[in-house]
């Protein structure tokens, strides 16, 4: 039974200003519609251009359910192309990362070749198409390029032919990517340190909501971060003993409510937001080698201090990218099914900065985001518990009322607040209802 297909009114009625219906997490039909609408109408992170450093280099991934190639052309431009031969649909590349031989993309099935910009170059035994109006067929145009923008190395794509412009969609939230890139004395990042791929048996939205949820760390992570704090404090380290990096990273997770409230959250239109407006759990990490000196040499004292003075916690680029600029790490949400999501954690080398910073981010990723992470285990446990708990008929709705005001109903949740506010989630669902229904017949 189709309850939601071709029924934008029914979809919009699932999102109220201060609550959201459980079907958003449970209903397979809504998941299909998310892939067909939300995952087409929004700008989605695809990959980083350092993954394809030279002409002909490619990276294969999915946008929603659609296989794509991120590929660097002969003109050095990074494009996003469908990873699907225009002939019979064979995936043109299957390695995660690779290089096209001879500057051509060649289909492994019938040997059709494409230039790196996706245009069709050759078809074997082409005489077989004489008199078939092959040139008039869409296949003759090759691989239709997907609309993409390379923002300071971060490649985003929008599957839908029409929709909001990239800058309009992300607005000032792009300042978090700016800060991340500016942390390299050369203004340049390289993907480094490996990718952790953690399967979550929950809906993707629970993960995205959690990234700006400042009310959970002290509860959910008491057993891991609290144990680390207790062990370190109890070891009575001699004065002057440097605090181990893992302790610096764990301990702030069990800071009190006041800390998390005061770090602040900024909410933008279209579902984006970041926590850590004033400071964050990353603010008090020890300085590393001569990094500050290198930054000052590159940017001048004032600008270097301003760049390093930002220590944003998590920025959500709705719906599929979250970044931690202060430690050059990002996570990408890849929905697989209504109750299944892959979370990829990528880390970067700040070009021109000491390698200790790479070690710091790989350590953080391992401690917090790996399938073996004690912190990750308890986060995922909570997401999964929601996935199972929502089957209860005790209530149809998920509550998002914390710090909700009547003014928000008309003006929307954009603004700056104490970070325990649930405004970021309300903003995400407002965007969800909008981008789910924009292209639906009958949508007003």
């Amino acid at each position: 039974m189709n309850r939601y297909r071709d029924n934008p009114e029914a979809i919009r009625s699932l999102v109220r200003p201060d609550r959201v219906h459980r079907d958003l997490y449970l209903d397979p039909e809504l998941f299909d519609l998310e892939m067909e609408h939300l995952w087409r109408n929004t700008w989605l992170y695809v990959g980083h251009d350092s993954q394809v450093p030279a002409s002909g280099d490619f990276y294969t991934t999915l946008i929603g359910r659609e296989p794509v190639l991120m590929i660097r052309g002969a003109d050095e431009r990074v494009r996003v192309l469908p990873n699907r031969c225009s002939h019979k649909g064979t995936k043109l590349a299957s390695a995660v990362h690779g290089k096209c031989q001879g500057g051509l993309i060649r289909c492994p099935y019938h040997g059709w070749t494409y230039r790196l910009d996706g245009t069709l170059r050759t078809v074997p035994l082409k005489s077989g198409y004489e008199g078939t109006d092959f040139e008039g067929s869409p296949v003759a145009r090759g691989l239709p390029e997907i609309h993409s923008v390379n923002y300071r190395g971060f490649v985003f794509a929008r599957l839908a032919a029409t929709g909001p412009d990239f800058q309009e969609y992300f607005g000032d939230s792009l300042s978090s990517i700016d800060n991340l890139v500016d942390r390299s004395p050369e203004g340049k990042l390289e993907v480094a340190g490996g990718v952790l791929r953690y399967l979550h048996d929950c809906n993707w939205k629970m993960y995205v909501e959690n990234l700006n949820d400042a009310m959970h760390p002290m509860v959910a992570h008491e057993s891991s971060a609290g144990t680390a704090k207790k062990l370190w404090d109890g070891s009575a380290p001699a004065a002057g003993t440097p605090t181990p990096m893992v302790i610096e990273q764990f301990v702030p997770f069990v800071n009190g409510y006041e800390f998390f409230e005061k770090m602040g959250v900024r909410v933008y239109a279209n579902g984006h937001s970041y926590t850590g407006v004033n400071f964050s759990i990353h603010s008090r990490y020890s300085s590393v080698g001569d990094y500050e000196a290198r930054m000052i040499a590159a940017y001048g004292e004032e600008r270097a201090r301003r760049i390093l003075g930002e220590a944003r916690h998590n920025t959500v680029y709705y719906p599929n990218l979250t970044i931690k600029g202060a430690i050059q790490a990002i996570r990408v949400a890849r929905p697989l099914a209504v109750d299944k999501t892959l979370i990829e954690s990528w880390t970067f080398r700040l070009v021109g900065a000491p390698d200790e910073l790479l070690a710091r981010t790989t350590t953080y990723s391992r401690l917090i985001n790996a399938p073996t992470s004690m912190v990750g285990h308890d986060d995922l446990h909570c997401y999964r518990s929601i996935q199972e708990g929502l089957a209860s008929s005790a209530a149809e709705w998920v509550n998002l009322q914390r710090n909700y005001t009547a003014a928000e109903q008309s003006a929307g949740p954009a603004g700056t607040y104490g970070a325990t506010n649930e405004a970021p989630m309300r903003g995400q669902f407002r965007a969800w209802a909008d981008f789910m229904t924009r292209a639906m017949a009958g949508a007003g």
Binding site: Y198, L199, E222, S223, L342, T362, S365, P371, H381
Partner: protein
Amino acid sequence: MNETAAVELVYHEARLLDEKRFDEWYELFTDDARYWMPLTRGQPDGETHTSLFYEDKLLLKVRIDRLRHPNAFSQQQPSFCQHVLQQPCLEGGTVGPDVCIVRTPFFYAESQLDRQLILTGVAFHHLVHVEGRLRIRLKKIELLNRDAALPSIQMLL
């Protein structure tokens, strides 16, 4: 190095994990030990590259204390593990009077109520004599599917 003692230690170590005798297990490791499960093939180190595990004794202590913490929510329903080891063998050319490397292919299962995860790989134990006792300086676990998308792995391999 006594080969029989080295092999016995590898079997004993797995048994302690399966029986959740974590305090005894912890004592098998030297003070400077590492417990390492790399993320990629040929990974040179655990510093500038992320690993699945790269734990010193402080982190191992956090881990085993957390498993017993009343608010370790993901363990409210506890997990259990079972190692099945192939005969451990000394790696050729590495045997010295006070140090050796033992190679052990294994299967590993982890269960939590209705869920069971099965992993396989090869473990390398770097063993040393410390004050007359054989102890582990490095346990390196090369998981076969280390590049796969993995669910939670909550116990120790």
